[in-house]
Subunit: 238 residues, 2 copies
């Protein structure tokens, strides 16, 4: 599959307002804009690979990307799912290490690449931007601490419920008393998010469905009863 280029000015990007680039001066933004390369990726294509050296920053314009690690037996663990407006691969770039994870397209995506020189240039000349990046990174770290504790002490059922709620928060399209998770995840991917076996996810999902907590719509999941799901996740006691 050949890579297809496209181009959208950063200043006109509809996701600028959700991005860390929001608030950048016109000069800084055009410095980013003038050096970026934008590429369309198909589902299944890889953006970067574990073990390789970052050469710049990816910024999502459209689609969904999973960032995951493979263990020795080849099992995936999904660390993060990136959506439009998100940065991709900034951790390894900023820590000056190799990528520790692989990024693969879940839903056809448009992603811009900013060479590290230009990104670092803006970062260094602009303390406000730097501060915003630090704040975002540290917030992300807090999210991961939360996940760690969850993984350590919650059952698979609780974790699945919690992750469905989290996905609802991030990718939910609100309907009447219910919310569709706008993300076509395979059972296998969902298992890789929760940290369990595919079969276990399948069984638990059909439990949740029987109990009227969720419904299936094509490849997507609709959350029917977020409150009961939260109980399953042991997030609320009542």
């Amino acid at each position: 599959m050949a890579k297809v280029e496209f181009n959208i000015a950063c200043s006109l990007c509809e996701h600028l307002k959700d991005s860390l680039f929001n608030g950048l001066s016109p000069e800084d933004l055009s410095r980013i804009n003038n050096h970026k390369t934008c590429v369309q990726y198909k589902k299944g294509q890889n953006i970067f690979y574990e073990g390789t050296r970052p050469t710049g920053l990816y910024c999502m314009n459209a689609g969904k990307v999973k960032v995951f690690k493979n263990n020795v037996q080849g099992k995936e663990f999904i660390i993060y799912i990136a959506k439009p407006g998100d940065f991709l691969g900034y951790r390894a770039l900023l820590s000056e290490e190799f990528y520790q994870a692989t990024a693969t397209v879940l839903e056809d995506a448009k992603i811009c690449f900013i060479p590290k020189e230009n990104f670092f240039e803006v970062l260094q000349k602009n303390p406000t931007f730097m501060k915003r990046v630090v704040k975002a990174v540290c917030h992300e770290m807090g999210v991961m601490e939360e996940k760690l504790a969850e993984l350590a002490h919650k059952s698979v059922r609780e974790r699945l419920a919690a992750n469905l709620l989290m996905l609802k928060e991030t990718y939910g399209m609100e309907g009447e008393g219910s919310s569709l998770i706008d993300l076509a995840l395979s059972r296998e991917d969902l298992a890789s998010i929760v940290g369990t076996a595919t079969e276990t996810v399948i069984r638990l999902l059909s439990d949740f469905k029987s109990d009227g907590l969720i419904a299936f719509e094509g490849k997507k999941i609709r959350v029917l009863d977020a409150r009961k799901l939260a109980k399953q996740a042991d997030l609320i006691v009542a």
Copy 2:
């Protein structure tokens, strides 16, 4: 227990070389030094609490501190163990959030407190320092990603072995063909690091002891055969 103050000039601190403050200009270092308050803590005392607002940065001069989260049932998960030279509580400070974890002294400690105004002042005036902090934070994030994947897909036995090796790397005092983990951890704390029940840790440790991988020395653990431990951790195949 009353807090006992002490004072050591940052410039003379034996751990400066291991700290992120290393490389700061004499003016910046004295700005930190002039505003810090240094306190001696006894084992069991708390440095900060989950849910409270950070007012500054803690910098370890002596002792060991565990940073942990409590789950609903009151079970601890230890995120990090801080040693001399380490910063404490920087994540919540930099993300401008409440503390998401509690810090408690494991071994009698001396800890300096730097008010956030002064820390931020130095951070903002000194891009090199800022960059070093960002690099460290992003590196830490990588460590946590590693832990997440480990927690998701490894057995308790593998995780215990991996954590013993990790503790050996950080707190190990090398002897002849063996290494003493210089950290007096209770079985319960070790369980909170690995993310399992205390009884399970006790059983596995005595397995490892029977197999000659480790030995007990008072409250501490000596790693006798790191290679075999690494096999148990599934880190090496052979």
